[in-house]
Amino acid sequence: MAPRWSSAIPGWVIAAAVVGAVFVLFPLAAMATRVDWPNFLSLVTSPSSVAALLLSLRTSLAATAACIVLGVPMALMLARTAFRGQRLVRALVLLPLVLPPVIGGIALLAAFGRRGLLGQTFDVLGVSIAFSTAAVVIAQTFVALPFLVLSLESSLRLTGTRYEAVASTLGATPTTVLRRITLPLIFPALLSGAVLSFARALGEFGATLTFAGSLQGVTRTLPLEIYLQRETDPDAAVALSLVLVLVAVLVVGLTLRTSAASSLVRRGTS
């Protein structure tokens, strides 16, 4: 639908907006010019690169799943209930968003590391988390969770509770209301929140390096691999960077399309 009023935007605003867009796109384009195209394929298919890419995709998917499992209930608690200290809880939950990831990694070590608060408990159970693939997933979930919670919470508030109220008077239990009304209504936000989380997990570096280390095939994800390669083989680093950019573009493009399609379905064809 076209906006009803088209307002005149001052010329200097347009100019500033163009500068902003160029500021974002220019470095990416510059990077593309530095790629050693003839050797691109061999650079990105070296065993260490492939291992890093697969590990990144695997752990990011797992982290996204963890974000959904934990984030949906958190968003529901924040949007649909009122309890003492709710504002404080929201602020703390969103903390990883503004925290330097390295600090997140140190905090995770303190909690789940071998000498951490829960580390000994896990040791007794025969599980060592730190410096394992599980640690990568934990670090990624830690930094990506707020993205999902934020996106879901605002969507829940926007949707309101009226459909849920009607559903409950039709005899639906709270679980049925959640499954058949709430979740379908916020599905576009769930999708875009999940993609944001996935993208954040895919790019995770600081917390992963601190908490999980850099073991090839175990904890060395693509960003870690790129950072490592930069020292020894800058061409490989640039090529891998481009791969990561392409994955990100692919993911963002895919969500925009699906969320546009699903919001069309929701609104009907009118």
């Binding site: 459909y163 109220a165 559903a167 409950s168 008077t169 039709l170 005899g171 009118s270």
Partner: protein, 344 residues
């Protein structure tokens, strides 16, 4: 009595106690902010009152402030709510919207759809079953919403101004449909339309400022209002005073001539505004009241002349001839036969 409820919400100044009999449609009349929707929300279980108790045929729905506190959640009350807006679930087809109640009651998808088709047919919306709510008109959506509320097989149906959001052209059709489906059903209908109450309800309760101001059989309450507020809703002039041998005398000393009742009791006189003629010079009539005009309000083919507590409806031509000036003195005249006097 089937439903008995009393509830208090201090914050909204709401305190009401009422009963609804099985198979009866009760209309709740009142202006905005009178507490009509508050009442429905409490009965549906969407709003928790500060104190009160409700029971259905002896089984409590809630009991707050009693010795054994109880609060049944909405889904365990068997009470459906139909709001002013249809609120059809946007991600489900019309059929699946209607099937939602039966599905929630544990019926299989197929059985629920069979029930839903029956109800869509009942509201003459069978052709809409595959439609998404976004493609329906207001009247179509509200018909589907009625079917959805009824398909849940509620023991009590709550209707919150179900016709208010509809075009004047569609409302009569839907009103007729509601009359058909409400017959023999227990329902509470919130409205500010006297026509809805007269068409659909057996009994009315008039709410004002969070409390009941009057109640009784629909026709009786609306034809013989006892409260100024009800008279306003019913579009009648109401004079309250003491019955006399010739009619009624108000506390201000205004004597109204009409068919007398037993003298000396508190009584009300109701006069339709259209029965009152307006004159610039004092006419000869059974009743002549000297008033100061306060306001003229065009109402389609007539003009309402307001003068204090009394209103008269005159033709636009007559209103123009009156040469209206706020504060001008005119005479309201009406025959004794147009005055209805009754105890109150």
């Amino acid at each position: 009595m089937s439903l008995a409820i009393r509830a208090r919400v201090a914050e909204r100044g709401f305190e009401v106690s009422l009963e609804v009999a099985e198979g009866e449609t009760l209309a709740i009349l009142g202006p905005n902010g009178a507490g009509k929707s508050t009442l429905l929300d409490i009965v549906a279980g969407l709003l928790r009152p500060d104190a009160g108790r409700a029971e259905w045929a002896g089984t409590p729905l809630f009991d707050i402030g009693g010795p054994r506190p109880l609060w049944l959640p909405p889904h365990r009350r068997g009470i459906s709510l139909l709001a002013q807006e249809p609120l059809l679930f946007p991600h489900l087809t019309a059929l699946d919207n209607v099937a939602f109640g039966p599905r929630s009651a544990g019926h299989s998808r197929e059985a629920a759809r069979v029930t839903a088709r029956g109800w869509l047919a009942e509201v003459e919306a069978s052709d809409l079953e595959a439609s998404r709510p976004g493609t329906l008109s207001g009247g179509q959506a509200q018909r589907v919403a009625v079917a959805r509320a009824l398909a849940a097989d509620p023991r009590l149906l709550l209707l919150d101004e179900p016709l208010a959001a509809l075009d004047a052209a569609v409302a009569p059709l839907l009103r007729r449909m509601l009359k058909r489906v409400l017959a023999g059903r227990t329902a509470i209908l919130v409205t500010h339309e006297v026509l809805d109450a007269l068409t659909l309800a057996d009994r009315v309760v008039v709410l004002g400022d969070g409390a009941i101001v009057e109640q009784g059989p629909t026709r009786e309450v609306l034809e013989r209002p006892r409260h100024p507020f009800t008279a306003e809703l019913a579009g009648l002039n109401l004079l309250v005073g003491t019955s006399s041998a010739t009619g009624l005398v108000t506390p201000d000393g205004l004597a109204v001539t009409g068919a007398p009742i037993a003298p000396g009791v508190r009584a009300a006189a109701a006069i339709r505004p259209s029965a009152i003629a307006v004159h610039a010079v004092e006419p000869r009539a059974d009743n002549v009241v000297r008033v100061r005009m306060s306001d003229l309000e065009p109402r389609g083919d007539s003009v309402r002349v307001r003068a204090g507590a009394l209103n008269a409806d005159v033709s636009p031509g007559r209103a123009a001839a009156l040469d209206f000036v706020p504060g001008a003195v005119v005479y309201f005249a009406f025959p004794a036969g147009e005055v209805s006097i009754y105890p109150c």
